[in-house]
């Protein structure tokens, strides 16, 4: 089932994605503000080459995860360190305790999760762009914007594109699972407690530290984990749909081959039957 040209195409796509897409994404992670609009326009191109489940996944991703993250969740976590209060006057204790209980903030984890989960979809777009025939008469087409080009390119999900799409789905699932597991690992579940007890140096003995807005944070954590689970279910459903499509296609192809063989066999018999009569 693996073709050498398929493997080389996949490697080519992956290499170009690394070269052209990851550096700006990495820069954006390090940057002070996430430029979600750029990601949004890129993923809109993905929409053309997705199945219907893929389009639903994209909508859920954007409306219920990215939009809620930017519009609401970032403000809830905005004052997480400034309003983290410890019952002590020891300098440095608050800093150390905050760092101990929040190694990575929820918001940053979700930002990274959304970026990693969106990236495999870009692989599909790159594959489609690479597969377009390169004409010499592309002067006119170069005037049209990338967005219009993406609109016009709509390949059926067969052959090597099927493999790219399936692998992108598998990667999405892996990333989602890993990030949810990491969240549960770091924060021991979904609930944000009101009080944490801290004994890190330089805090004297055990110190009570109070977290800001724990209930609101719990509500948003539950919401983001639930939407993440919905996205994972959509991805699994899409994977099953693609596999089913591939199996039905291959059974159709094998049936056609058998029918063709029968026709050819019948034709040859007719020809050999005709010869004795000529004699």
């Amino acid at each position: 089932m693996f073709h050498t040209d398929g493997i080389s195409l996949v490697l080519e796509v992956f290499a170009s994605t690394l070269m052209y897409h990851l550096p700006p994404l990495i820069l954006q992670i390090h940057g002070l503000r996430m430029n979600w609009d750029k990601l949004y326009t890129q993923l809109n191109g993905v929409r053309n080459n997705s199945t219907s489940l893929g389009k639903i996944w994209l909508s859920v991703l954007f409306i219920f995860r990215i939009a809620i993250l930017i519009l609401a969740a970032e403000k809830v976590w905005g004052d997480e360190q400034s309003d983290f209060t410890c019952n002590t006057q020891q300098p440095g204790c608050k800093n150390v305790c905050y760092d101990h209980f929040f190694p990575v903030s929820h918001i940053r984890l979700w930002c990274l999760q959304l970026i990693f989960v969106s990236t495999p979809a870009l692989l599909v777009t790159m594959h489609v762009i690479f597969k377009q025939p390169k004409d010499g008469k592309s002067k006119q087409s170069s005037e049209t914007s990338d967005h219009e080009k993406q609109k016009k390119q709509r390949l059926p999900i067969k052959g090597s594109l099927w493999w790219t799409y399936t692998w992108s789905l598998i990667f999405r699932l892996i990333f989602e699972g890993v990030f949810i597991y990491v969240l549960f690992l770091i924060y021991d579940g979904i609930q944000m407690p009101r009080l944490v007890k801290c004994e890190q140096w330089p805090c004297p003995n055990t110190v009570d530290c109070f977290i800001s807005r724990p209930t609101e944070k719990t509500v948003f954590t539950i919401f983001m984990v639930a939407s993440s689970a919905i996205c994972m279910m959509l991805n699994v459903a899409e994977l099953f749909y693609l596999i089913h499509k591939k199996l039905t296609e291959s059974s159709k192809n094998s049936k056609e081959l058998q029918d063709n063989k029968k026709k050819r066999g019948a034709g040859e018999d007719g020809a050999t039957a005709g010869e004795p009569s000529s004699n």
Partner: protein
Amino acid sequence: MSWPALYAQLVGANRHSTSLGKIWLSVLFLFRVMVLMVAAETVWGDEQSDFVCNTLQPGCENVCYDQFFPMSHIRLWCLQLVFVAAPTLLVSMYVAYRNQGDRKKLLQSSGRTGFLSSKNQEEELEALKRRRLPITGPLWWTYLFSVAAKLLFEVGFMYALYVVYDGFRMPRLVQCDQWPCPNLVDCFISRPTEKTIFTVFMATTSSICMVLNGAELAYLVTKAIAR
């Protein structure tokens, strides 16, 4: 992804709405999203930093704030607006699905009849994109379902706000006896009158949107019966 991007998406879907639906969208964006963005967010901006309790006990303010504001008004309204806007996108998804099917049929039929000039085909495809589907058949059901979902979300969120905050009024003083506060402590909320005014305003516009949704439902049902 921001409110303007959401607006752009919804305006696209607006083409296939009834007139009541178009009014609903305008009310939503002018009186709710704009007001939320421009005014309400600044009013609630200092809600925790200016929540002051009559105690020096560290942690008492955090705990009392969490006790009386499990979910901030602003976040509730944000979620409400996102959830209420989402069903409209269902309609635009259905329209896109219909257009795709019709586009395939068009291309197949032109292939069968032979070589149509590419310009003619492009014009027909453009016309397909720009046309306005009549609200009948499965589109009617999708639209009805989206309006019902909007109404349900509006009612749900309004009820949640009413239950969490015991009404739409913001008091000046709340009394808190959560641990670690010693005994009973007076806590003072920042800008209670301004918050009450905005809460009443948002509740009113929400009710107007609910009335519009109800009217749209009634209109759709009577139209279907008349047919």
